[in-house]
């Protein structure tokens, strides 16, 4: 019984033998890369890239609930992507706009 269930998953048209599985699964790699970069100094964070990451995450989160069938795997990966993008953006914005006074004082 367990074997046939595993085989059913293994041979699924969107299963691990197909691109329909690995492409969305690998999208986690983008979130993981972003988490790994969360320790980097904010000066190295790129506004255009993080805005693109956040926008992609938000748009795809919405659409993964609109398509048939609803794809919760795709939903979760894009929610995570949007979350890491927003985190990086807030780090950089905080650094650029809210610590200017401290930097100006330090330079004097």
């Amino acid at each position: 019984m367990a074997t046939s269930k595993f085989q059913a998953l293994w041979n699924h048209p969107a299963g691990p033998k197909t691109i329909h599985f690995w492409a969305p699964t690998f999208k986690w790699g983008l979130s993981i890369a972003n988490i790994a970069d969360s320790t980097k100094p904010p000066e190295k964070v790129s506004y255009p890239q993080q805005i693109a990451v956040t926008a992609t995450g938000v748009v795809w989160s919405r659409y993964s609930t609109v398509i048939t069938p609803k794809n919760w795997n795709l939903f979760s990966v894009n929610v995570a992507l949007a979350a890491t993008g927003i985190y990086q953006l807030t780090r950089k914005i905080r650094h650029d706009f809210f610590s200017e006074e401290q930097a100006a004082v330090a330079k004097e």
């Binding site: 255009p48 693109a52 990451v53 748009v59």
Partner: protein, 144 residues
């Protein structure tokens, strides 16, 4: 004469009459506009058109391409090796995905092909800056 015949006559006499006969010229232009409107309308209503999610998802992904192009102007120290490397694998996988998905999504394919090129270029800039491709770290510029 029926409008169709007039239009056909206008098309057939394209090389001889239209500039001397303003009504025929206008009809030819209308036919051209009507044709392009028809194909535009076909696109609007297609299964991968702007009324569907199959369109706007890929549009969002073009943001990666634009971000990559903008970041090409920045010094290599600003590039994130993690993110750029992940993007290269991600776009490679999604080119295959766009090809295999039903309906086949050429917009997504074009987006990820462009992103793959941009990210590979950024990755090479990053690697050279780190000294992986034989370039000096912050040293002299490598030859093309």
């Amino acid at each position: 004469m029926l409008p169709v015949e007039v239009t056909w006559a206008a098309l057939c006499s394209f090389s001889t009459a239209p500039r001397t006969n303003p009504r025929l010229f206008v009809q030819i232009q209308e036919v051209k506009v009507a044709d392009s409107m028809a194909s535009f309308k076909a696109f609007l209503n297609s299964p991968v058109g702007p009324k569907t999610t199959h369109f706007w998802g890929p549009v969002a992904n073009w943001g990666f391409v634009i971000a990559g192009l903008v970041d090409m102007q920045k010094p290599p120290e600003m590039i994130s090796g993690n993110m750029t490397g992940a993007m290269c694998i991600y776009s490679g996988l999604f080119m295959r995905f766009a090809w295999m998905v039903q309906p086949r999504n050429y917009l997504l394919l074009a987006c990820h092909a462009s992103n793959e090129s941009v990210q590979l270029y950024q990755l090479s800039r990053w690697a050279k800056g780190q000294g992986y491709l034989g370039g000096e770290k912050k040293g002299e510029a490598s030859s093309q």
